[in-house]
Symmetry: C2
Subunit: 128 residues, 2 copies
Amino acid sequence: MPTQPVVFDQLQTLVAWLKVLAEPRRLQIFDLLMQGVQCNCELGEQLQLAPNLISHHLSVLRQAGLVDMERDQVDGRWVYYSVNLAALQALNATFGAFFHPARMQQRQPTCGPQSTLLTLDTIEEVFE
Amino acid sequence: MPTQPVVFDQLQTLVAWLKVLAEPRRLQIFDLLMQGVQCNCELGEQLQLAPNLISHHLSVLRQAGLVDMERDQVDGRWVYYSVNLAALQALNATFGAFFHPARMQQRQPTCGPQSTLLTLDTIEEVFE
DNA sequence: ATTATACTTCAATCGTGATTGAAGTATTTC
DNA sequence: GAAATACTTCAATCACGATTGAAGTATAAT
C-alpha cells in the first residue's frame, strides 16, 4: 500500500484556501485588493455589489487570514481592507509546491492487466 | 476609475479550476494521480470511497481537462486515469502569476478621510 | 441628544453541488 | 449466448453556502 503523497492536514489547509477563493466575487475582491488598500464602498462600486455582500465576502477572506482590516484613525466609520502579505506568500508557496509539474511521477496501476506487464523498472526485480 | 486588474475571462477560468479542486476528495484524487496512473478501484480503496463517487469526481476533473482517461488495450473493462501534464503546467503558471506577491501594489483609498491625505506620490501633482 | 453615515450581523430563502442507491453500459470470460 | 466484472449514468435526497432584506452597531456631525 503506497504512502499518502501529501499529509492530510496540508491538504485540508489547501482545500480551505481553495474554497474561499473559488468564488468569482471573492476572487475579484481579492484581486482588487492586490491593487492596494480599499474600503467596502469602493469595492462595491467597482463590482456593482451591495455593501452587505462585500462585507460578507470580506469576512470570509478575513477568517481565512487572507485579508486584513483597519479602521480609519481620523474617522472610525471607515474601514480599509488589504491583502495580508504573509498569507499571500504562504498561499503562493503552497500552491506552487502542490501543483508543481515535477511532483508528477511514473507509476503503473497495481490492478488490471497492466499490473502484470513488466516495465523496464520492474524487470530487473524479477531476475533477483 | 481604475482599470480592472485581471481580465474577466482569466478570472473565470481560474475560478473554474479552483472550484474543481476545492473539494477534499477531488484534491486527494488529483494528488494520488500525481503519483502516476491509477484506476477507479485503486483510488477507491485508498480513499475508502464508493466507485460511483470516484467515477463522479474523476469526470469532474476530466471535464476541467485536468485528468486524462485511457482504456486498457488488453482488457477494455479497465480504465486508467492520469494527470494531464499540459493542464498541470497551465494551472501552475496561472496560479503562480495570479497569487504572486510582486503583484501587490501600494494604493490609498479614494474615499474616506484617507483620500484627502497627501502622500509622497501625489504631493508633487498638487504643485503642478 | 438626535440624526446621518458606513458598515456589520442576523434570519430566511434559494440554488448549486455532494452524496446515495439503483439501473445501465461496456467488455471479457465461460 | 449467458454470466460476471468494472465502471458509468441517472434520479432523488441532502447539505452547504450565496444571496436577500431587515435590524443592529459604531462613529461622526449637527
